[in-house]
Symmetry: C2
Subunit: 114 residues, 2 copies
DNA sequence: ATAAAGCTTAGAGTGCGCTCAAAGGCAAGC
DNA sequence: GCTTGCCTTTGAGCGCACTCTAAGCTTTAT
C-alpha cells in the first residue's frame, strides 16, 4: 500500500518513525489506515529530501499530541521553504541541461557534414 | 571554485569522472578552466540526482571524442525527461505540504481556544 | 636550518538508509 | 502430520558517495 517493503516498515518502527503499531493475538503487526497515511506522509518528507533524523524529530513531536502542533507546523514551514529553493535550482539545472542538449544537436550537425 | 574538497576531486579522478588532469614539475595537479567547468557540469548532474555510475558513463563517452556526441545527447535527453517528472512530483509534494501547514494552523486555532 | 603547510599515494573508515540472515513460531493446504 | 510461507526478533551486511589516514615529498616562512 505504501510501496515500502515489510523490512523497511519494521525498520521505520524500530527507529521510531512508526509508533504504537497494533498487534493481533499472534503478535503480528496490524497496520491501521492512520498508520498507512502517516507512512505516506513520511514518504512525502523523504521524497522531498528530509533526512531520517528530521522525520524522527517530527514523529517525536507527533507522539506528544496536539500541543506540539505549532512546532510541527514550523518544521513543515521550514521544510517548505527549502523545497522552494530546491525547486528553483532544479529549474536552473533543467534549463542548463536543455542548453547542453541544444549544444550537442549543433555539434552533431557539424560532425555529420564532414 | 567548484565547492568540492581536494579529497573529493581526487576521488572523482580516481573513479574516472575527471580525466587527463595535468601535473606540474612536482607532480602536483593543475586544473584547467575546462576541468573546472566539467566538474561544474558533473555537479549539475549530481544535484539533479544522477548517480555516479551515470556520470562515469557520460565521462567515458566524452573521453571518446566528438563521435559520441549523439550518445551523450541521448543520455541528457533521458535525464532531462526524468527531471521533468521529478519536478512535477515535487510540485505535488509542495502543495500537499502547504495543505498540511494549513491544517496545523487550524488545529492551533482550535487548541488555543480551549 | 627548521617547522608548518600542502601535495602525493593506496587503502581504510564513515554515515545514511536500508536490506538481509538466522532461528524460531504460527497457520493454511495437501 | 507435514510442508510451505509468512510472521517474529536481534544483529549483521550492503551500496553509495564520499572522507580520512598514514607515510613520504616539496614548498614557504621564520
Amino acid at each position: 500500500m505504501t510501496g515500502l517493503s515489510a523490512h523497511t516498515l519494521r525498520y521505520y518502527e524500530r527507529i521510531g518513525l512508526l509508533r504504537d503499531v497494533q498487534r493481533n493475538e499472534q503478535g503480528y503487526r496490524v497496520y491501521s489506515e492512520q498508520d498507512v497515511s502517516w507512512v505516506q506522509f513520511l514518504l512525502r518528507l523523504r521524497d522531498t529530501g528530509m533526512p531520517i533524523a528530521g522525520m524522527q524529530q517530527f514523529a517525536e513531536l507527533r507522539s506528544q499530541g496536539d500541543t506540539t502542533a505549532s512546532a510541527r507546523r514550523e518544521m513543515l514551514e521550514q521544510h517548505h521553504l527549502q523545497l522552494e529553493q530546491q525547486l528553483a535550482q532544479l529549474h536552473t539545472h533543467l534549463h542548463n541541461i536543455s542548453d547542453k542538449i541544444e549544444y550537442y544537436r549543433e555539434l552533431e550537425k557539424k560532425t555529420t557534414l564532414l
